[in-house]
């Protein structure tokens, strides 16, 4: 039986680096309603951590601002929006390049967007310089396959 979820949550918090763990754990707890695998959940946590870190380090440049996060569940999909009202990204294509970073002195790897792109199914970045940035990411939880595997495991147990 395939249960269909429709659910939504919103979160606002200060752009402090100690909130990175709070944000990814909250989204993970919300996403767990879709019954993801451990690996899918780890992917979501990592992508959220990257996006929130970007808001804090790049958007607000460690000044205090508000990070807005929303997550929606639709069928077997989670859609996550992470928004800041920070400085914005002048060149999104360049920012997405692997290893590109404007802050090498902070030991940033420039892999944030690359990780978000490869860990999620879809990502969209909207940004206006001086206004802020919104990152929208989606991930489908491959529910049926997982259930099938679980059933097989259970039935093969003695």
């Amino acid at each position: 039986m395939n249960e269909q979820f429709e659910n939504e949550m919103k979160l606002e918090f200060l752009s402090k680096s100690s909130n990175e763990a709070f944000a990814r754990l909250t989204v993970a707890a919300f996403a767990s309603q879709l019954d993801p695998t451990i690996e899918e959940l780890a992917d979501i946590k990592t992508a959220v951590s990257e996006a929130v870190t970007n808001c804090i380090i790049h958007g607000y440049e460690n000044k205090i601002g508000i990070v807005k996060l929303s997550a929606k569940l639709y069928q077997n999909e989670i859609i996550i929006e992470i928004t800041d009202n920070g400085k914005g990204i002048a060149n999104i294509e360049l920012a997405k390049e692997p290893l590109y970073t404007t802050k090498p002195n902070l030991e940033r790897s420039g892999m944030g967007f690359t990780i978000m792109e490869s860990f999620m199914d879809d990502i969209n970045i909207e940004s206006i310089v001086g206004v802020g940035t919104k990152v929208t990411m989606c991930k489908k939880i491959k529910k049926e396959e997982t259930n099938q595997e679980q059933i097989e495991q259970m039935t093969s147990m003695p």
């Binding site: 990592t46 790897s109 892999m111």
Partner: protein, 104 residues
């Protein structure tokens, strides 16, 4: 993070026990650099066995420690990469630079 220095082999092992993100990495970095400078090891190993979460801050952490250790004449290795840690390191190509301990 826990650390242990083996005087005889001049080996310094850091066992990271916290989640690795932009927040936690600041403390890890300070402590690692302090101990590398203090013990002047020949080899430094970062053990990831107890790491339950890591994002791209872990890549920056390793590249930074690699440079710092090199500067002081020490080799850097990583050990016990969990599946999720390995996924991120593989993506960055950093394992071409930093060997995994115990692997030929």
């Amino acid at each position: 993070m826990e650390s242990k220095f083996y005087e005889k082999d001049k080996l310094l092992i850091f066992k990271i026990t916290e989640e690795i993100d932009d927040h936690s990495v600041q403390k890890i970095r300070r402590r690692a650099d302090y101990e590398i400078e203090r013990f002047m090891p020949r080899k430094v190993i970062f053990d990831f066995d107890s790491v339950t979460f890591m994002d791209s801050a872990g890549i920056g952490l390793l590249v930074g420690r690699y440079k710092f250790a090199n500067l002081l004449g020490a080799k850097l290795e990583v050990a016990n990469l969990t599946q999720s840690v390995n996924k991120i390191f593989e993506m960055s190509g950093i394992l071409k630079l930093i060997p995994v301990a115990g692997k030929e």
